[in-house]
Every structure is written in C-alpha cells, then in structure tokens.
C-alpha cells in the first residue's frame, strides 16, 4: 500500500476512473432529466457555461435531450462494453501470444497465420458476418470488438517472449526443473506486463469508437438508448453549429483514457520485476 502511494499519478488515475464508474452506476440518482424523451422546443442548447439555460449544465442534443443525463446513462453502456472488450481481447491475445512465443514451432506459425488472415478483413465485414451467424446480442458486439484488438496483444507478447526466453535466468530456471508453466507465469509474463498495460489502457477509446461505428448493424444499444459511441455518431453532423454534442462524450472518453493511462503506468511500475530492488 505504501508502495502504491509512492506513485501519486497512479492513485489519481485510479480515482478518476472510480469517479467515472461510480457516476455512471449512480446515473438514476444523479441525472435530473430523462435521457430518452425528446423535447422538441429545446434542441441544440449550449452548455450552461457557454450561455445556455441553467436547466441544462451540459446543454441539449439534437432532440432536446439533456446531454448530462445521456452522458451518465451512456457511460454505463460504453464503460461496460469497452471494458469487457478490452479484457477479452487482452486475455485472448496475451494467452495466444504466450503460447506462440513459448511453444514456438508449428503452433506459432499457425496462430500467426490465423492472425494474418483475420487482419486482412475489415472489422465491418467481420461484424456483418458475425451478426449474420449469431445475431446482435451484447455478447456478439463484445466479441467483435475483442476480435478487432487481440492481435496487437498477441504479437507484442510473443515478441517479448522471444526476447526473454533466451535470457540466462530463464534458462537457469528451466534447467533447475521448473515446469514450462511456472517459468511462463513467474518469469516471462511479468516482463511482458509493461506493453500490455500500455496497450490495454489505450484501447478503451478505440473500443468506444468502434461501438459507435457498429451501432448501425443493429449491434449494441439501439436508439434512443444513449451510449457514448451513439452520442459521438449523432454529434458528427453538428460539429460546425453545435459542437458540444460530440465534444462532451469525447471529453468523457478522454478522462477515462487519462485515468486508465495513469493507472496503467503506475501498475506497471509496481509490478515490473525489473524495477524491484
């Protein structure tokens, strides 16, 4: 714990994330208006700070809905989806990358070629194919998002493993009889942590943006349910006259990314064995 406190930025990051998560979860308590019901006479009102009415602190959108309320409710959806997708992508990617790097040979070749094949397909096409087979459930959406991200983890981890497995102390552990698995978990995995954390904390934004891009396939939440991705998409056409529609969710995403980055960097400092005295 004291070690954690020696990394104030990590704490800041963690707190930031916690605030966002708690706010989203507490949306029903915090939101003062209905995020779904349109209010036609109140369209496109700027946020209070910029001269809007006092009723809407973050302004209203193209259907007169309270952006603050939509931000809170939308956060639930986006945080859950993006976080699940990142976790899934990282789990699959890291496992595959470890296996490919440690076991090498045919497995390595097979897995990397599968990755090549998949990379050739644009995400949208994979999404259409997946929807055709399993429908548009949230699970399908998370799968598509994860599918778009796992390869980076796999390749990065594999590269790190290739570097490390030749190292002396790893060889030494092997000759002393440590099983492969033990070697992997105790020696190799921690050394690959740094890039994994960097990538993982960077991918959140990408996942939200992807979610926004896939909503028209019927995946994810359908309008009028809010999500940060949906808010971005709807705000795209209003950038020159009502820029807050897309900017507000963009700022929210930035805050989450900031928190994730700081926390990720801090965790890396904590967990990286090479930094331990």
């Amino acid at each position: 714990m004291s070690r954690l406190l020696r990394h104030p930025m990590a704490v800041v990051g963690g707190l930031l994330l916690a605030v966002v998560v708690v706010a989203s979860v507490a949306a029903p308590l915090l939101a003062t208006s209905d995020p779904i019901k349109p209010s036609f006479g109140k369209r496109l009102q700027p946020p209070r700070v910029l001269g809007g009415t006092s009723a809407y602190v973050l302004g209203t959108d193209n259907l007169g809905r309270d952006i603050y309320a939509r931000l809170l409710y939308g956060g639930r959806v986006s945080l859950a989806l993006a976080a699940s997708a990142v976790v899934l992508a990282a789990s699959v990617g890291v496992t595959v990358g470890l296996a490919a790097g440690v076991l090498g040979g045919r497995l390595d070749d097979l897995v990397m070629r599968v990755a090549d094949v998949q990379l050739a397909f644009p995400v949208i096409m994979l999404a259409i194919a997946i929807v055709a087979v399993v429908g548009t459930s949230p699970g399908a959406l998370v799968s598509v998002l994860a599918l778009s991200g796992w390869v980076l983890y796999a390749r990065t981890v594999r590269a790190a493993v290739l570097t490390i497995r030749q190292l002396d102390y790893v060889e030494a552990a092997r000759t002393l009889g440590a099983s492969d698995l033990r070697v992997v978990v105790l020696h190799i995995l921690p050394n690959t942590l740094a890039p994994i954390l960097v990538i993982g904390s960077s991918q959140f934004a990408t996942m939200v943006l992807l979610e926004s891009g896939l909503s028209f396939l019927g995946m994810g939440v359908q309008p009028p349910q809010p999500s940060w991705g949906a808010m971005l998409a709807e705000g795209r056409d209003y950038l020159s006259n009502a820029w807050w529609l897309a900017t507000v969710p963009g700022v929210a995403i930035s805050l989450v990314v900031l928190g994730a980055n700081l926390l990720g960097d801090g965790l890396r400092d904590l967990l990286d064995p090479r930094l331990r005295e």
Binding site: R113, A132, I199, R236, L239, T247, I253, S254, N261
Partner: protein
C-alpha cells in the same frame, strides 16, 4: 534461417488461398443482394433475378470460385459490380493516394511519437512528461472524425491556410496525415516512454552506484533498443490499418483511398472489389509480418525461431 524462410513463404501462399476462399464464401453467405443494391428500390423482382444471373451469382458457389481462381491466375479479378470496370484497375487507382497518406502518417508517427516518448521518459516527472501525457491522452481519445473536421474548419475554412479536401498536391496531405497519425503517435509515445523507463531506472540504479552517471547517450541507445521491438510490432500492424482502415479519415477529407473503397464496396456488396482488396491486404500483412519477424532476429540476436 533458410528453412524458416522457406517454411514461411509456403505458409504465406496457403494464407492467401485461405483468405481468398474465406472472403469468397463470407460474401455470398451474408445477407445482402448485389443486384438489389444496383437497382433502384422500385425495380421488380424479375429484374433483380436477371441481374443476379448476369453477374454470375446464381451458379453454385464452387463453380463461381473455380471461375474466380482461373481468372485471378490470369490477372483478372473480375468486373466491379458498381463501376463495371475491371476490379483490379479500380483498386489499383487508389494505391498511390493510399500509400502516400499512409507513409506520411507513418513518418509523422515515428518522428513525433518517439520524440515525445523519449523526452517524457528522460525528463520524467517534469512538465515535459505531463505535457507528453496530455498529448498522448488526446491522441488516443479524440475521435478521428472530430479531429479531422475541426482541423478542416480551422485551417481550411477559417484560416484558409490549407485545402479542405481531395488530393491534388502535397499540401493536401497535411491535415489528413495529422488526423490519421494522432492515435498511433500517442500509442508510440507511450510505448517508447514505457520501454525507456524500464531500462533507464535499471541503468541509473546500477551504474549510478558504480561510477557516477554513465554517458547519457549510451543509456539512451541501449534503452531505445529495448523499445524497438514492441514499436516495430505496433508499426507493423499500423501499416495495415493505415492502408485498409482509414475509412473515416478518407471520408472526412474526400481522400481517394482504399479504406473508403473497400468499406463502400462491402456496403454495396461489390464482391469483386472486396475480394481484390482483401487479397491485396492479406498479401501486404503477410509480407510485413515476415519482414518484421526477420527484423526481430537482426535487432536482437538472442531471438531464435524454434
């Protein structure tokens, strides 16, 4: 190494065949009817059926694939359903613009990203580091279209320093490449900083005790080498993304690139164009991946493939 290369080349061929088969099947199995997309909403079902037959889509799928393979071997990737022109020509027309944008964005990414990362790591905890963090956060979280449209509004409309869209000269490259490079630059900056920090803290601790600070240049060089492999991995993937996945940037800047071409073709169910682009993409990914795997062994002689 010889046998490894041969093995990889053989697998590459297999991969390409696999991709061609997979894309062929997926296109014909997902819902969506190319004839319907070409004809207006008010066309009778008989006309739709006629056109599908005309496009060769009523043959059994293995017959279609056979015809496709025989043509590809002769360099004929079929006629684009949308444009009624050879699919290969339609795709190749987009290559120059795509490559120029990808290359420019790549160069920006490496130069700016690595610089920021190095500065942030070396000056850890200072204003430079914080500035770097802020830039990295912005780069990762700003949506492509937001950045692109804002840049156009500022530099194209208000200031009129740069053109707003299209591709007719080098100045048209500026805004799109900045937009495209934002995210990878941020990622590169963070990876660089992270990799550097690992080494720097070690070195400092070790050598600092030994004889006072060792030459910064030596430390930096050693540290950068540590960063190179993950960076190379990232960049390898980025090239592919830049080539085929820049659809949003291309839409915003009306850039005649392959990203928009393939996405439009998917929505339009223009099978020949989708097939051509995907086979081309697969070839590029396979080639890049091979080059990078070889580069790993050059950069770090400890790496061997077993």
């Amino acid at each position: 190494m010889q046998s490894y290369l041969l093995r990889r080349l053989w697998q590459s061929a297999l991969t390409l065949v696999g991709v061609s088969l997979l894309v062929f099947v997926i296109l014909r199995v997902i819902p969506g009817d190319p004839a319907k997309m070409l004809l207006p909403e008010g066309a009778p079902p008989s006309a739709i059926e006629e056109l599908n037959r005309e496009l060769g889509l009523r043959e059994p799928i293995w017959v279609q694939y056979g015809i496709f393979v025989r043509s590809v071997v002769r360099g004929d990737f079929g006629q684009s359903f949308q444009y009624r022109a050879p699919a290969l020509r339609v795709v190749v027309e987009r290559v120059p613009a795509t490559i120029q944008l990808a290359l420019t964005a790549m160069v920006l990414t490496v130069l700016v990203g690595v610089s920021i990362g190095v500065l942030a790591a070396v000056r850890r905890g200072t204003g430079y580091d914080y500035a770097g963090t802020v830039l990295a956060v912005l780069g990762q979280s700003l949506p492509n279209f937001w950045l692109g449209i804002m840049l156009v509004l500022l530099f194209g409309v208000t200031l009129r320093w740069l053109p707003t869209s299209g591709f007719q000269g080098w100045q048209y490259l500026v805004l799109p490449s900045i937009t495209l490079a934002a995210f990878p630059t941020a990622l590169v900056a963070r990876l660089t900083r992270s990799s550097l920090l690992e080494i720097l803290s070690q070195e400092y601790i070790r050598t600092g005790r030994a004889k006072g600070l060792a030459e910064p240049a030596v430390i930096l060089r050693h540290a950068l080498r540590n960063a190179t492999i993950p960076l190379l991995t990232l960049l390898g993937l980025q090239i592919g993304t830049l080539l085929g996945g820049a659809v949003i940037t291309e839409s915003v800047f009306a850039w005649p690139g392959m990203g928009k071409l393939v996405v439009d073709a998917i929505f339009f169910r223009d099978f020949p164009v989708v097939q051509t682009v995907l086979i081309l993409s697969a070839t590029i990914f396979v080639a890049i991946n091979l080059v990078i795997d070889v580069l790993y062994t050059v950069l770090d002689p400890r790496i061997r493939y077993g």
